[in-house]
Amino acid sequence: MTDTTVNPQSLPAGLVLAPQLPEILRPVKIRRGFIGLLRGHPTVAIGGALLLTLVLIAVFAPYLGTVDPTALAPAKRTRAPSIDFWFGTDVLGRDIYSRVMFGARVSLTVGLSVAIFASSIGLAIGIVSGFIRWADGILMRFMDGLMSIPPILLAIALMALTRGSVGNVILAITIAEIPRVSRLVRSVVLSLREQPYVDAAVACGTRTPMIILRHILPNTLAPMLVQATYICASAMITEAILSFIGAGTPPTIPSWGNIMAEGRALWQVKPYIVFFPAAFLSVTVLAVNLLGDGLRDALDPRMAKSL
């Protein structure tokens, strides 16, 4: 630039200058890092932070002042919350605090695994039916059939066929979740196929597999990620329900559903047995849903932020 400062004294006579205008809004401080995220997308930040805390609890459960969650102590049955037993003890005298902390492992494992498996399989099915016309008819009618059964019933039925184990719970819930995901992916794929950049890629001689890999797949990831969080939340609830009715995680493994099931009979006299696992389940589901809502707004600029 050849900018040289023009001396105010040397301004030509009769020069008309624009009036000085006031600033009518406070200046915006552009923040980066966590504070910036918190201001821009508070739900992502809060949901993410809560979820991270719960993951840390699950990972470091043995080091959080817990005792063996399966250790029986008949002498200390149904104690109310106190300094020794933060959340009290259950009918078999097991420490509820320790059981709840370890229970986070089951919930999160089930939630995350189902989210990952169901979205990957759903993604594959959705892409196939979005691109192959004859497969679309068959796959989608099959998915319609699966969808007509409530997912929880489907999961119960599947659990009835197998032995109760965390792996089987994950499998059952995954199967129950697949139809919804593949429907979503299919609709996203169909709308992406109409995008001019996909037409341009066809005109550029790009082969169909590359079009899927380069132009379709990366653009389905954002809606997939959002959907995955909702699947995660719903899987955690389904797991708790299955355990609660005794069709899920075996009673030897502490899970929030199991703890609640065991405390059910005593709900009126010893509500804390049910209360603590229920509270943790609610907070976890809330955290995941907040994260999902936040991601949806953050990843989809067209969607006006409503908060």
Binding site: D3, T5, L17, A18, P27, I30
Partner: protein, 329 residues
């Protein structure tokens, strides 16, 4: 007498990446029965100006400052309730996309009727009769049948006519038309422009026409105001502006539009380009807003923003170097 007087209008928006000074210090007036065109490219603030006049800018994240005096009252000082009584009644608006501004689940007749019943206190029968009258006025065939139809049953041109009927139902003093023909095909645009010209004579409302189409401006405006980057850069009567534009931006804009018939006159030459891009309004601009794209710009322009000054008869422009007085075209 000025019906509308806008003084130092500023409309700013708070965004995560800074304050967007969408409109920054715009002053103008509209006389009764007059048609003023506000011209400029996307992002120049012309639509935000019109939304500010109607106070339809969401606050926050937006904020409006300055004064908007309409028939003796400052609209910015009115309560929301008082403002609602003015919107659609004394000032009404036509938008670019009729499909999104008409309610899809109400019949056309009901939409006109409701404005009349709310603002003019007519009863249902009187409003219905007036609605049919309005549809006749805007040239809709078979108005008695059309009042019972829904917007999706009408074509684009018909919907735009309905929008105009809704806007004119309460006999407004000021009509703001924001890109009223942009979404329409040329032959339909010609119908709507003819309709607007005819209505202008019959209804007598003042019109603020917001558009980027200089052809439409030449067709119906009396006075033109050119906006760039949230500022007013030039204003003149329409013939004067097209004959001798003073601001380099206006000159560039006029040179960039090919004219129909130019290949026959042998005047088809390379189009004039305005190099570069519109400045980022989230960063404060020192000096003239157009300096970055202007061939005449000097250090003076880059440091001192020019004010609007008289360059010819009723002709003002904000440029340090634009010629004054009568210019031989």
């Amino acid at each position: 007498m000025a019906l509308l007087e806008v003084e130092n209008l500023q409309t700013h928006f708070r965004t995560p990446s800074g304050i967007n000074r969408a409109v920054d210090g715009v002053s103008f007036h509209v006389n009764e029965g007059e048609t003023l065109a506000i011209v400029g490219e996307s992002g120049c603030g012309k639509s935000v100006t019109s939304m500010s006049l109607m106070r339809l800018v969401p606050e926050p994240p937006g904020k409006i400052a300055g004064a908007i005096r309409f028939a003796g009252r400052d609209l910015l000082q009115l309560s929301d309730r008082e403002m609602r009584a003015i919107r659609g009644n004394e000032i009404s608006m036509i938008f670019q996309e009729p499909m999104t501004s008409l309610n899809p689940v109400l019949t056309v007749g009901r939409q006109i009727r409701e404005t009349l019943m709310i603002h003019q206190g007519l009863d249902k029968q009187a409003a219905e009769a007036h609605a049919i009258e309005m549809l006749t006025l805007v040239g809709i065939p078979e108005p008695k049948r059309r009042v019972r139809e829904y917007p999706h049953q009408l074509s684009g041109g018909m919907r735009q006519r309905v929008m105009i009927a809704v806007a004119l139902a309460c006999n407004p003093k000021l009509l703001i038309a924001d890109e009223p023909t942009t979404a329409l095909d040329v032959t339909i645009q010609a119908q709507i422009l003819k309709l607007m010209l005819g209505l202008k004579r019959r209804v007598g409302a003042a019109i603020i026409l917001i558009t980027h189409d200089l052809g439409v401006v030449a067709e119906i405006a009396e006075r033109v105001m050119v906006m760039y980057a949230g500022r007013k850069v030039e204003e003149a009567p329409v013939a004067e502006l097209f004959r001798s534009p003073r601001h380099p931006y206006t000159q560039g804009l006029l040179g960039a539009v090919p004219k129909l018939g130019s290949s026959l006159a042998g005047t088809a030459t390379r189009l004039a380009e305005i190099p570069g891009q519109v400045p980022d309004l989230r960063k404060p601009i020192i000096g003239c807003v157009f300096a970055g794209r202007c061939a005449l710009a000097t250090d003076l322009c880059r440091q001192y923003a020019p004010g609007l000054e008289e360059k010819g008869p009723r002709h003002i422009a904000a440029c340090h170097y634009a010629a004054k007085g009568a210019v031989a075209a």
